[in-house]
Symmetry: C2
Subunit: 274 residues, 2 copies
């Protein structure tokens, strides 16, 4: 199958163009795409360079490239007219009808979506990210009063990245606590967790996948044996049941999906918005 | 000014609807919006609940809500017809022309954009995130050979969140090293950094902003005085010049923008795609 080139073109970071293009393209199966991001096209010269690059690629391939653009400044958008290729212009598509609805003209200024600086929002992200770092892996259980949520689970079930993502993306204070072998055997929860039962959310994972992850980390010893991994997962799920802790299986979910699901299921409010 | 309610509606996480809607709305100034995300509308009952909620809100307010939808499953999309409000349906807008271009039908299956699980991609994100955690704040300079990039700067200039973002989002191995008072005074770089000069990227920040950030962390002592903050920033920028380290000012940039700019300027390739 011929690989088709997909361009993401932006006068800013390109994050929005990539998000849009990616969600649309994942709706098509059996295609192979080469993805090229051309960010920060904020002068006519850079736009011209991008047009040449796209034309060269189009000339080399038998299939037309698809170009997702979030160029917003008018003079750049007007210049950006690829000869070959399908152009999907995000702002041109939606801004006119939004202008009618909002009874106002859009600014057509670049750098507003992801470059917008709001120091309160930045501080919130930083504070929540630092909270996740300081409260990783059961490091500081005395801070649990400040936590919005405390993820519990066995080692390598996905707690740390989910907490970091919750902090960086949503400004939510997320701690995590790894269930120890003693706790898994006795079914007891430490007092600091018992005092915050309503903040607990469990992560579980399929044993094959956990074994694979653990083997990459430490290939020998009990840590990554089938027996140990299966025991820990069974015991953790028994604890979730005993203590009525809601939980989610991380095996088939991305970090984005885990974070959104946990917020939706717990009702924990995001402290910042995208 | 009347606040207008904006709904982000999705049969998945809602992350795409939020990103796209946010990019469009930031093009309009002087409006106040109440943002409501309705994720995981994956059954007809949940869609009906959402329709009721939107109708109730519309009845309460004098301005029509705007609804950004990334519902992708046909039966849900067909049911989701709000009586009042402006509906922007991302998939309905773009999929038909993409189907023509790609000579194939889209799958209309949910859960592909953010729920798509690719264990190689997950492992890469995890490995890069762990690398950022282990190499935070100059913790483990012996790993610098494995780094794609090493951020240097004074304390609280934004190194840690940028490294974590680079790992979580792009799978890039990013370490960071805080310049010490000794180094700032002498202008010397530790050998581990001198051996990796081509991987260094500097972060700087305006002194007012740095002082503000540091005061929130530690309100007394030399750490957050005007004199200390100004000295450190001047000395760091002098080091960037002396060692020919490219650098970026973090004061007016979001983490997303910093990460994209650093990748674009260094040519470091993302190891994973959104």
């Amino acid at each position: 199958m011929t690989r088709r080139t997909i361009f993401f073109v932006s006068d800013q970071t390109g994050v929005t163009a990539e998000t849009l293009g990616h969600s649309l393209l994942t709706q098509f199966e059996g295609h192979e795409f080469d993805l090229v991001t051309l960010p920060f096209l904020d002068t006519l010269d850079k736009v011209d360079d991008a047009l040449r690059l796209i034309a060269d690629r189009a000339a080399e391939q038998s299939v037309r490239p698809i170009i997702f653009s979030t160029l917003v400044q008018d003079h750049l958008r007007e210049r950006f007219q690829p000869d070959k290729g399908m152009l999907i212009d995000f702002f041109a598509t939606f801004l006119p009808s939004l202008e009618v609805q909002l009874h106002s003209k859009s600014t057509h200024k670049a750098g507003r979506a992801h470059g917008l600086v709001d120091s309160g929002r930045y501080d919130q992200r930083m504070d929540a990210t630092n909270f996740a770092l300081n409260n990783d892996d059961g490091a500081r259980i005395k801070d649990y009063d400040r936590a919005d949520i405390i993820l519990v689970g066995v080692s390598r079930s996905g707690k740390t990245p989910t907490c970091l993502y919750l902090g960086l993306t949503y400004g939510v204070y997320a701690a995590n606590y790894p269930l120890s072998e003693d706790e898994l055997e006795s079914g007891k929860l430490p007092v600091a967790l018992q005092n915050n039962l309503d903040k607990l959310y469990g992560l579980t994972i399929e044993s094959d996948r956990l074994q694979q992850i653990r083997k990459e980390r430490r290939s020998t010893g009990k840590y990554s044996t089938v027996q140990q991994v299966s025991f820990e997962i069974r015991a953790a799920e028994a604890m979730f049941a005993k203590w009525k802790i809601p939980f989610i299986d991380t095996t088939k979910s991305s970090i984005e999906e885990l974070a959104s699901t946990i917020l939706a299921n717990t009702g924990v409010e995001r402290r910042i918005r995208p």
